[in-house]
Amino acid sequence: MKFIVAIVKPGKLEAIREALVEIGVQGMTVSEVKGFGRQMGHKEIYRGAEYEVAFVPKLKLEIVVDERVAGQAVEVIAATAKTDSIGDGKVFVLDAESAFRIRTGETGPDAL
């Protein structure tokens, strides 16, 4: 099993969810996060004074999938989140050691 962490632009969530459901992904956790990467922050103006906003709002998606689907899931996320402008985000893939469905007690890929 693979644990996929994706940081994406906030407006892309619905499109990514639809694309993932289409390839059979059955669950996802989303949180609002802030951070900076190469995009760095941006400037805002308030009453004539400019100030730096260092941390940009993004969404963090966490998905655990079977190994066979992982590659495809990453491709789908990347393709859907891409706008070609700076700040599109990143996708990380980690190994997931185990999984456990609380209600039924299923384990491993069956629990996903």
């Binding site: 632009k9 906030p10 407006g11 609002e32 400037k43 805002e44 103006i45 941390f55 706008t83």
Partner: protein, 450 residues
Amino acid sequence: MKLLKKLSLALGAVGSAFALGATPAAAAVTDETAYVLNTFSFLVHGFLVMLMAAGFAMLESGLVRTKNTAAICLKNIALYSVAGIMFYLIGYNLMYVDVGSYMGSFTFLYNPSEAELALINAEEATDEMVAEVVGNGYSVMSDWFFQMVFVATTASIVSGTLAERIKVWPFIIFVVILSAFIYPIQASWTWGGGFLAEMGFSDFAGSTLVHSTGGWAALAGAILLGARTGRFSDGGARPMPGANLPLATLGTFVLWFGWFGFNGGSQLALGSAMDASAMAIVYVNTNLAAAAGVVTAMILTQVLYGKMDLTMCLNGALAGLVAITAGPDLQNHFLALIVGGIGAALAVFSVPVLDKLKIDDVVGAIPVHLVAGIWGTLAVGIFGGGSLVTQLIGVVAVGVFVTAVSFVVWFILKSTIGIRVSAEDEDMGLDRCELGLEAYPEFGRGSQKM
């Protein structure tokens, strides 16, 4: 607002009472008292209507998402200002001064009459000077002020429909043309004494002249601007719920409050018992129509969707108000309930129709102001306030003119400077891309939250 006719009637009645000496003195007022009361009515009702600009601003900022809030607030205070300036520069003259059949005078600026200035500046005012001023029936600038706030209302209507994706400056340019030319020209046909007035077309406070005009201009803009990204997909319409429903509710109440100025003030005079009584009737009809609109929307949404829908009820109140605006002088108050209720029902049914047509109207201004405005204008014909055919001709004439000209103006703006922000800016929100700031920096995804 057949200003001249009505006032000359009112003043004539007062004058003849004096001449004949047949009426007890207590029953009549002097011409100067009537002048003061008429002017007072214009000014007070005018600033009530001015508050409607705040109502629209709150309604719209409640119904957009937080990332577009500051932009919609800026647009609202800007359009009110621009509309007032343009109406001073040229609009009023086009609407009211030397109106032929199709428009008034192409002259600039509108200022107090010579008689009024002479009176104000006189060392010692003579009876003749007072009589000359009083002969007009009301202070000319009080009438200008009252008419100015109406054009601002028209511009506000356009703002709500096009929210969340339009660039601010092109919108302001449209408001310049709307308030300087489009609104005054079509309004001169009726209120200025042009060809629709000659035909007997009746629109007391502007269901067609103000509300439908705003609605047509908004519709033309919405078609050329396109829907918000993601609003319509193959699966149908995806709602983009407003950020702050208490604010939208407050805005609706403020609009309702201001509407007493809008309709009540359109009696255009308060210098006689007749006018005072007629004005009271207008107030009551206005309130009943709005109330019927809310109740109708509550019942309809409960039946249609299984739940009551707050924003539809807010739309219902406004649709009831718009519908009664063409004929709030109905002498049977029960009819006001019917006019307002049907207006709200039409608005509720129009919302899904617009969704089917993939026309994105963020605040429901087209169902409320255009659809209920048409209904209210026709209702005057149906309930005996005029000829239904003439009412229909008025609706069509104004509709064709406003839609055609608005379409051309929006098209020119679209193909030159562009009217829509980029997809990326739209996603980021108009507050950041157009203004470079946030409405709520300490909440939600705001930059100052942590």
